[in-house]
């Protein structure tokens, strides 16, 4: 809502605050000040008084000559917009070119709608800005959704009145009724959507440009002057918050105004020239034959007030807010009227606003026919709230004097009766947002000042603040990965459909947004891969380099028809030549597996078996794996692999890309705290022995490892651990063979092991490996050149 200091002052003659103080008060009472402008910014410059010296009427258009000192200008004006010859008219300049418009930023048109008449006391050549506008200040105020009443000068002035404790003066709304017969009838067929509809008939209308003060105030409040009738309805709407509509009464067929719901497919050309296809149930105003306005949203073009209009039907109504909102949204419209109806207008202010407009119309020569056409009642019931004063003081944490509180409420329009320490508060009709005692507390607090709230701290006992296992694991993993040289990223969880297609993720399992903003963000990611790959792509495009990225984030899918969301960890490694001083470790599939193992260790579970397996079609066939859970459950704990070079080429990504995704929630569920037990440190020395074996190249390490583990267990060896330290192949091994070298560490808890005993165990292990027929000891191997 836009309002100027001087317009506010018209409602608050005793206002003594300076404009910058007014801005401060609005902000302190809950109205964000979006902008404070000088009135000068809104008007053309210079703005001078000229004289209309000649007017030659040529049908609908009139050729006018305007004199300004020595200069004369010839302009073509719509005949309805031409004042009497000899009167003062406004000559505004835009970039030194006369535009005849007061509003800044509008280019002169070939044919003007009007010449704006000026009060006769101005001399030709007078600076209109100095004389009639002066140093006014415009406030652009943001009004919250609960305060429909403040989409009006009246509402905002009332806020200042409460702050300053000064009276509020309503604008003049008196007019004379004339016994004019017009024959108009009202029919309200939708009282549930329009509880109150009123109409007035005004005749002897002459449509012409508004007087300067109305044009000026409309411009200050952000609207364009059009003609005196439309301007009056707009001005009253801005003043009182009640939208009004003036129909050209001569164009209403059958002298009948009907309020009814639209039939599916009915059409209406609105004032903006658009043809609107109406849906069943939209509320409209119709005459005997057809729709003539979209109730509460916009009038129809055919009944628009124009130059020829001589009589009008003035509508003032209370439309259902939901109905107006739905209609406006369905048609993609948002008008000054719909914005006010949506938030709710003052049910008792409907007829008062109409009266104000009638008074102004009468001032312009209109004759008001006696009698209201009324259908329905103002939808208003008295609402009273009991507020113990103690509640105000306690909730606000400040000692507001009760007298001060009552004063504030009364200035805001509440009627207050005191019953001991309790106030009985009667809510004004324009404040349907105030319904409970706490709402009254807010009203007092708002005006008294949030700055006076005394800070305290809720004193009940603290939560012990234990960090849940999942969260602490997540944070430890994040720290680990960041310290290992990866960058943490945060990406959008909405991705492109195609990026999910390439992962071969099925249609029924997807979670699709029904109303996406763009195709780029249409599907909720079922894996983190699309998001993380996009990060690599962005950086590749910009010529950046990095070892890789990781993200902890949610993925989304449907399972058995239900939505599911799951927290995942995604790691993407990017092997690309880097300008580095010191050599870095290589990046390959085993770097990826190394991360998996480290994370398993951080979780306290280790990781389960890792087997070849390709989940994403974008992975290399033989370069992908599935990691099972350490508990051996059916659901895998993660998936990894090397991204196909062709896929990288298609997206202009250089180098190699490896990807790993881990189901974090599962991981956190398995880990356990260290069981409480007695610690024992090894007291006797360990003995280590190395074994070197040769196997077929297709034999996995796991085969040898499990044999060693089983035999050690079967023979009750004191084998503490064993670890692979080399995998070798090529000369001197024959082709198709490879070797494993591993170290065994023996330790007994209760004695020093003898060499001889350890020797026996090693021999036994060697024997059992040999027995499989698939393992040859390195030392017994007959090599090619031996």
């Amino acid at each position: 809502m836009r309002v100027s200091y001087r317009i506010l002052k018209r409602f608050l003659p005793e206002l003594s605050l300076r404009p910058e103080e007014v801005a401060e008060v609005f902000m302190n009472q809950g109205f964000v000040m979006e902008e404070v402008l000088s009135a000068r910014d809104l008007f053309c410059s210079p703005l001078l008084a000229g004289t209309l010296v000649e007017a030659h009427r040529e049908g609908l258009l009139t050729r006018c000559t305007v004199k300004l000192g020595e200069r004369t200008f010839r302009v073509l004006v719509h005949t309805s917009g031409v004042p009497e010859t000899g009167s003062r008219v406004l000559v505004g300049f835009e970039d030194h070119t006369p535009s005849f418009l007061p509003v800044r930023g509008e280019r002169a048109r070939e044919i003007l709608d009007f010449l704006l008449p000026l009060p006769p006391f101005l001399e030709e050549g007078d600076d209109v800005y100095e004389a009639l506008i002066g140093d006014d200040v415009v406030f652009e105020v943001e009004v919250t959704a609960n305060r429909g009443d403040c989409l009006s000068v009246l509402g905002l002035a009332r806020e200042l009145a409460a702050h300053c404790d000064i009276p509020l003066v309503f604008p003049e709304a008196r007019y004379t009724e004339k016994p004019i017969h017009h024959g108009f009838r009202l029919e309200n067929e939708a009282p549930h959507l329009c509880p109150l509809y009123t109409g007035r008939y005004v005749t002897a209308i002459t449509v012409r440009p508004s007087p300067f003060w109305i044009a000026k105030e409309l411009i200050l409040m952000g609207m364009r002057p059009i003609n005196n009738v439309v301007d009056i309805t707009n001005l009253v709407m801005l003043e009182m918050g009640q939208p009004l509509h003036a129909f050209d009464a001569a164009r209403i067929r059958g002298n009948l105004v009907r309020v009814r719901e639209a039939e599916e497919g009915e059409c209406l050309v609105t004032l903006d020239g658009e043809e609107r296809m109406l849906r069943k149930g939209m509320l409209l105003i119709a005459d005997a034959d057809r729709p003539i306005a979209l109730a509460g949203v916009m009038g129809g073009r055919d009944t628009e007030v124009g130059p020829e209009t001589k009589e009008i039907f003035l509508e003032a109504a209370f439309f259902d807010r939901v109905s107006v909102r739905r209609t406006a949204r369905a048609l993609g419209m948002r008008t000054e009227a719909s914005a006010r109806f949506e938030r709710g207008v003052d049910p008792l202010g409907v007829m008062r606003a109409a009266s104000r407009a009638l008074a102004l119309l009468e001032e312009m020569g209109g004759e008001v026919a006696s009698g209201w056409l009324v259908s329905g009642q103002p939808p208003f019931a008295v609402w009273e709230i009991s507020v113990p004063w103690e509640l105000v003081v306690q909730r606000l944490s400040c000692e507001v004097p009760q007298k001060e509180g009552i004063r504030i409420l009364e200035r805001l329009g509440f009627q207050v009766a005191q019953e001991g320490e309790t106030l009985r508060v009667r809510v004004p009709s324009w404040r349907p947002d105030v319904r409970e005692p706490i709402d009254v507390v807010e009203e007092v607090g708002r005006v008294y000042g949030y700055g006076k709230i005394r800070s305290s701290f809720p004193s009940f006992p603290f939560d012990p603040g234990n960090v849940p296992r999942g969260e602490s694991l997540e944070n430890r993993i994040r720290a680990h990965l960041a310290h290992r040289g990866l960058y943490e990223v945060v990406t959008l969880s909405l991705v492109e459909e195609e990026s999910v297609n390439v992962l071969g993720f099925g249609g029924e399992e997807r979670v699709v947004v029904l109303n996406p903003l763009s195709q780029e963000h249409a599907v909720l990611r079922p894996f983190l891969f699309p998001s993380l790959f996009e990060v690599v792509r962005t950086n590749a495009r910009r010529g950046r380099r990095s070892r890789g990225f990781f993200e902890v984030g949610k993925v989304f899918f449907r399972k058995e028809g239900n939505f599911r969301e799951e927290k995942r960890l995604g790691i993407i490694l990017w092997n690309v030549p880097q300008p580095a001083l010191w050599k870095e470790d290589p990046v390959d599939l085993f770097t990826l597996k190394g991360f998996l193992e480290e994370i398993g260790e951080l979780a306290g579970t280790g990781c389960g078996a890792v087997c070849p397996g390709r989940v994403f079609p974008v992975f290399e066939e033989d370069g992908a794996f599935v990691a099972s859970s350490p508990e051996g459950g059916a659901e895998p704990i993660g998936w990894g692999g090397k991204v196909l070079p062709a896929f990288l080429r298609r997206h202009d990504v250089e180098g190699e890309v490896y990807y790993l995704e881990i189901r974090l929630e599962g991981l956190a569920a398995w880990g356990q705290d260290l069981p409480a037990k007695d610690f024992v440190l090894p007291a006797f020395p360990a003995v280590s022995r190395d074994i070197s074996v040769v196997v077929d190249a297709s034999t996995p390490w796991a085969f040898v490892a499990s044999l060693v583990a089983e035999e050690a267990k079967r023979s009750c060896m004191a084998l503490e651990e064993f670890a692979l330290f080399d995998v070798f192949s090529g000369d001197p091994l024959p082709p198709g063979k490879k070797g494993f070298a591993f170290r065994l560490v023996f330790r007994a808890p209760d004695r020093t092991l003898e060499d001889e005993e350890v020797g026996r165990w090693v021999q036994k292990l060697k024997e059992s490996l040999k027995q499989t027929g698939r393992v040859v000891l390195r030392e017994e191997m007959i090599l090619s050149h031996e």
């Binding site: 507390v441 709230i453 959008l492 947004v513 903003l517 939505f563 010191w582 870095e584």
Partner: protein
């Protein structure tokens, strides 16, 4: 005799400590270790001692002899080290190290917010990103077709589900799960149907806070937020409450902190306002309590919600919200060493 040997050792140590040159060393060596030293004399005298004593003194004498020789060798090595002129180590060379990565600024901010509120006795909860319309709106006193929904244009998934437009539905979940009194924060991701620009993103993050206990007041809210804001932004910052409107709080407030650059006077970085908006807050609306089966006569509460991106932008001076989601290495690497 044993005392004489000990004294001999002490004298030796004393003279050895004075040694600065090779000549000094040779002199000390001749005096205490060579054939002309007193060692042969001691050995001579040893023979005169009774058997029992001879063994004890003999062992000590041998120890002293070995010790003297060892100390002389050490000294010699020290001297030759000193004589040999060596190049100093170039410690300006870089160390052998792993490159470091970094945490994302949004996560840094959330981690810090969580740490602050934990220290104030809050617990941390999470809520789903796919929410019901009921929890996202109606339970929070935001009816259908209400203008308050304008600011929260949603992505719909069908079947009454949507992507939550704020973390506030977690208030409902928390109240259904816990029994008052409690202090909770809920960090999380939210979605609004806003096109990307410098200050809007269709995906963004919030931290919701909720405290429910008998007698909670605006003062409790203000006191808590003041502590939080000063810890996050610095002790010198002032906190200001302005009335506002949220359907699920009453009274409602916007919380501002004074601009860190001009301290409230108004400057270019705060658009001349002097204050920066950091969150919305208020006392829990009685209707919200009724919606979850609490009695608003018996318990009260306050709630707040802040935009993580906004706070990170203020804290780190980031001009464009899109930078958070582009994840350009040039951007991410600026946060090394934080967190």
């Amino acid at each position: 005799m044993i005392e004489e040997i000990e004294e001999y050792l002490r004298d030796f140590e004393g003279e050895l400590a004075q040694v600065l040159t090779r000549d000094d060393l040779n002199r000390v060596k001749g005096k205490y270790a060579g054939r002309k030293s007193r060692i042969p004399l001691f050995l001579e005298r040893l023979k005169t001692l009774p058997l029992e004593e001879r063994r004890i003194v003999g062992r000590r004498l041998n120890e002293v002899k070995v010790l003297i020789e060892e100390r002389l060798r050490e000294k010699e090595a020290e001297l030759s080290r000193r004589e040999q002129k060596r190049e100093p180590v170039d410690f300006s060379l870089p160390g052998r190290r792993h490159p470091l990565g970094a945490f994302h600024p949004l996560r840094l901010v959330v981690d810090e917010i969580i740490a602050i509120f934990r220290s104030l006795g809050f617990r941390v909860e999470e809520g789903p990103e796919i929410e019901t319309e009921l929890y996202n709106f109606e339970a929070l006193n935001i009816p259908a077709d209400h203008p308050a929904r304008d600011a929260q244009d949603s992505f719909y998934l069908g079947g009454g589900f949507l992507l939550r437009t704020h973390t506030s539905p977690a208030q409902i979940r928390v109240m259904k799960k816990l029994t008052p009194p409690f202090r909770v924060i809920v960090p999380g991701r939210c979605y609004r149907r806003d096109a990307f620009d410098a200050t809007h993103s269709p995906v963004f993050h919030q931290v919701e806070g909720l405290v429910v206990a008998p007698g909670i007041s605006m003062g409790d809210l203000k006191g808590t937020i003041e502590v939080f804001a000063r810890r996050l932004f610095g002790e010198r910052r002032k906190v200001r409450f302005r009335p506002s409107y949220f359907p699920f709080t009453e009274p409602s407030a916007e919380v501002d902190i004074s601009c860190g650059i001009c301290q409230g006077a108004g400057c270019r970085s705060c658009g001349g306002r002097g204050w920066l908006e950091i969150m919305g807050a208020g006392l829990v609306h009685p209707q919200v309590f009724r919606n979850v089966g609490y009695d608003p006569e018996k318990v009260q509460g306050f709630a707040f919600g802040m935009g993580v991106e906004r706070i990170a932008m203020l804290k780190f001076g980031i001009p464009d919200i899109r930078w958070f989601f582009e994840n350009d290495v040039a951007f991410l690497s600026a946060f090394k060493g934080l967190g």
